[in-house]
């Protein structure tokens, strides 16, 4: 099974990189831009065939290593 995971900073955590990208896009004349948040993207493949078990394992991977839950949120999608 294949999963994609996106990790982003929580809403109330300052994202200076996102801010710089946002300002640059605005400076380039892309005026409809409202805001930019920068994050990370992972693609993960697991051997497990049982969907429920695989889902659980990927959640564990996120919470134990890939994500710092103090400052980051994550979303898991099946691909």
């Amino acid at each position: 099974m294949k999963y994609s995971i996106t990790v982003t900073l929580k809403k109330d955590v300052l994202d200076p990189q996102g801010k710089v990208v946002e300002n640059t896009l605005k400076n380039m004349g892309l005026n409809s831009l409202k805001s930019v948040r920068q994050g990370k993207y992972f693609e993960i493949e697991v051997e497990e065939k049982n969907e429920e078990v695989a889902d659980k394992e990927v959640t564990q991977m996120c919470e134990k290593l890939l994500v710092n839950l103090i400052i980051e949120d994550y979303k898991i999608n099946k691909i």
């Binding site: 955590v13 300052l14 200076p16 990189q17 710089v20 290593l65 890939l66 710092n68 103090i70 400052i71």
Partner: protein
């Protein structure tokens, strides 16, 4: 006193801290991160550097290494643990210290001597300093912007768990004297039991008048005479 310095691939202040510890009469041993036992230690130091190239997040990979289980056991049985710079980042990733270190607010790597103020001198790490003493210590980091949950910040203040705060040379703690955007200018914190100290500044670089100053000496002499 026996000390151990943990070495990860990418640690680069491990020799400096070893020299400082030996100068201060510690019997020091270097410990590789793949080791599964710790030598008998009164103090464990996690040094600065860029363990695992800062992959994923600073300290994230080192925080899951084999030796960390032993460090957690030692910490829980009261052993003193000092994490400097990347060592502080690693301690937050292991959960031994709460909070985390975000990218510097100005997005720049900061390498300069800054002033910090001693906020709590009633601990095994800081007893040789005076309260509110101003020190000049080098910082060199890209992720030193301390952040934590509001409830933990309250705990830090209420339980006197803040070790050092960034200040100016007169001791003023404000946004102007905050190099990296850290919450309340926090430069170093203790755990609840005060046997673990994590700090971004490098006291091991300040133990010799010939290359810098000696403002870091009292941290080590506090420990050795604890």
């Amino acid at each position: 006193m026996n000390s151990s310095v943990i070495v990860f691939p990418g640690s680069n202040c491990d020799r400096d801290i070893a020299v400082a510890l030996e100068k201060m009469q510690f019997k020091n041993k270097m410990v590789w991160h793949k080791d599964t036992t710790l030598p008998k230690s009164d103090l464990i130091v996690i040094p600065g550097g860029f363990s695992y190239g800062d992959y994923l997040r600073s300290g994230a990979i080192a925080g899951k290494s084999l030796i960390v289980n032993e460090i957690i056991k030692a910490a829980n049985s009261g052993c003193l643990i000092l994490g400097i710079c990347n060592g502080f980042q690693i301690l937050t990733e292991t959960g031994l210290l709460k909070g985390t270190l975000l990218r510097n607010k100005n997005l720049k790597f900061i390498n300069k001597d800054v002033n910090i103020k001693v906020i709590n001198n009633k601990t095994k790490f800081t007893s040789k300093y005076n309260l509110n003493q101003i020190l000049k210590i080098n910082v060199a980091h890209n992720e030193g912007n301390y952040f934590t949950k509001e409830s933990h910040l309250e705990e830090l203040n209420k339980e006197n768990l803040i070790a050092f705060k960034y200040c100016d040379e007169k001791g003023v703690v404000n946004d102007l004297s905050n190099p990296n955007g850290a919450l309340e200018n926090i430069a170093g914190i203790f755990n609840a039991k005060k046997n673990i100290l994590g700090m971004m500044p490098h006291p091991e670089r300040m133990v010799d008048e010939m290359i810098s100053n000696t403002d870091g000496v009292n941290l080590f002499s506090s420990l050795i005479n604890k």
